[in-house]
């Protein structure tokens, strides 16, 4: 079955999750026999588009249209649906990022195509077409069967590895047609959390809780994050009282993340917090209460005053970094 991948870019650059989606899509195509096409919307350089061949894309459909430089759910979904029809793709893969989520449901409706909203693995069976996803905010897993002819897979970032070879993709320019109604929302302004690593994409996340006592004590969290190339996060009460911005709040009512490493400092490990972080591959907990529930969920624990243990840990990380 031919596979179409929505190869998302941010300001003209691809990110890791895009390469994961293409690697995933080309593995799917291998299993079912079919072509691998990536659709790119916006101004990306030819070199970058060709490089998608490394991850398995044979062809790139390049959609360039000034009206599409800012994300527009309606028009983006329309371009993806038309690309799928043109390639006769029965499988559509997209990263389940904010922008991926924002178009997936619209493509579903356009193509009457069932969606796995947050796949974490390749299909476990192709007939019936079955894919695993998380449910109950990570407290459970479920196998979803898609019964429609065309199928959409929204892949959670950090859940599939990147394959890399040395092929180059061909580029074909593609001009979908848009109805008047498709530019029905207008982009006004972007407020980038500049320079920082996006929480949903980060491989390492350093997170702080109420145990840190106040916003003035976040220096060590930020220092550790910078050393490790990590994003910063926090527990809900910390965002509620304004010590940290809302977009850093992880958990059942905040962002759900699944990095390779999650470092929790002064966080008790309430069930609602764990729900959002429990799919991290490795968790390290710094807490001064040996009864803190977080220790039960963690891989490594340090019981002690974080204001003493974390600076020591930072020193050791520095040593490791300077020896490599």
């Amino acid at each position: 079955m031919s596979v179409l991948i929505f190869a998302e870019n941010w300001d003209g650059k691809f990110k890791k999750s895009t390469f994961e989606a293409i690697s995933y899509g080309s593995e799917l195509a291998k299993q079912t026999g079919g072509n691998v096409t990536a659709v790119v919307i916006g101004n990306v350089s030819d070199d970058d588009m060709k490089s998608l061949g490394k991850y398995g894309a044979q062809k790139v459909l390049s959609v360039k249209n000034d009206k599409l430089n800012a994300h527009n759910p309606s028009a983006y979904a329309s371009a993806i649906a038309q690309a799928a029809q043109k390639e006769n793709a029965k499988l559509i893969v997209l990263s389940y990022t904010y922008s991926g989520r924002s178009v997936a449901g619209r493509v579903t409706v356009k193509l009457k195509a069932g969606l796995v909203a947050g796949a974490i693995a390749l299909p476990s069976s192709s007939s019936p077409f079955t894919i695993r996803k998380k449910c109950f905010s990570g407290k459970g897993l479920t196998d979803v069967v898609i019964s429609s002819d065309v199928k959409i897979i929204g892949l959670i970032p950090n859940s599939y590895h990147i394959n890399s070879g040395d092929a180059s993709a061909s580029i074909e320019s593609f001009s979908p047609t848009f109805g008047d109604n498709e530019f029905n929302s207008t982009f006004k302004e972007a407020k980038k959390t500049s320079g920082k690593i996006a929480l949903t994409e980060a491989e390492i996340v350093v997170s702080g809780g109420r145990g840190l006592k106040g916003p003035e004590n976040w220096g060590m969290v930020e220092q550790l994050a910078e050393l490790l190339g990590a994003a910063t996060a926090c527990s809900k009460p910390v965002a509620d009282v304004g010590w940290r911005p809302h977009h850093e709040h992880v958990g059942q009512t905040g962002i759900t993340i699944g990095p390779n490493l999650y470092i929790a400092i002064g966080i008790s490990g309430a069930i609602q917090h764990l729900a959002g972080v429990s799919s991290s591959k490795v968790m390290v907990v710094f807490n001064n209460d040996k009864e803190a529930p977080f220790f039960k969920a963690a891989n490594y624990g340090v019981c002690g005053d974080a204001f003493e243990t974390v600076p020591k840990f930072i020193e050791e990380v520095k040593k490791l970094k300077s020896s490599h």
């Binding site: 449901g105 069932g114 909203a117 897993l141 759900t256 490791l320």
Partner: protein, 245 residues
Amino acid sequence: MKFLVCISQVPDTTTKITFTPDKKAFNAAGVQFIINPTDEIALTRALELKEALGGTVSVINVGPANTEPNLRKALAIGADDAIRVNAEPTDAYFVAFQIAEVVKKNTYDVILAGKESIDYNGGQVPMMLGELLGLPSVSVATKLDINGSVATLEREIDGGKEVVEAKLPFVAGAQKGMSEPRIPNMRGIMTARTKPLVVTEPAACANLSSSVLFDLPAAKGECKMIDPNNMAELVHLLHTEAKVI
């Protein structure tokens, strides 16, 4: 101005999740069901806007009769009337389709949902609704203001926020930041009993996907406790054993 808020009911956030022995269903025995947290945020913002601009706030749920206590709670918080589409909410497309059918028979200026339900974690109903109705939609909105016939929303994007404008009517999924949920007061609870709760039957709709099996994530192994005076050991383990730094 007419507001419609989509309400789903989900297990309370403290629920320990278990499944039936055949793994085919969620084990609802003894579980307390609540209004999905982000739906409460949507509802509160709709009420605030109604107070400022005038109008009515309706709530809608696609679900069996056991969701009615939570619809009454929404009425107690301040919604004017409730609609229940009497069907098992099998997948997001089915739910969005049923809500769209109701919207087509009424007119609403603002349709709000939560950004995601905490049971199935799909986050798709608002976008599907937008497409089914041919309306603009914003999937994760942390701010919503209305000025005349134009809404200004702040939406979450990877690595920041974006401000977008959309003409009414539109659909949006609410996220924290848009409002602070309210607790119903005594008067609200009293009047909720007399407010209309209309039950309608579902329209025929294709089934695109279904959850066939549930499982619990693999249990984590023992937590390795590290001597707080030996952070070199922790760094060493993270580097050589876990291979994450």
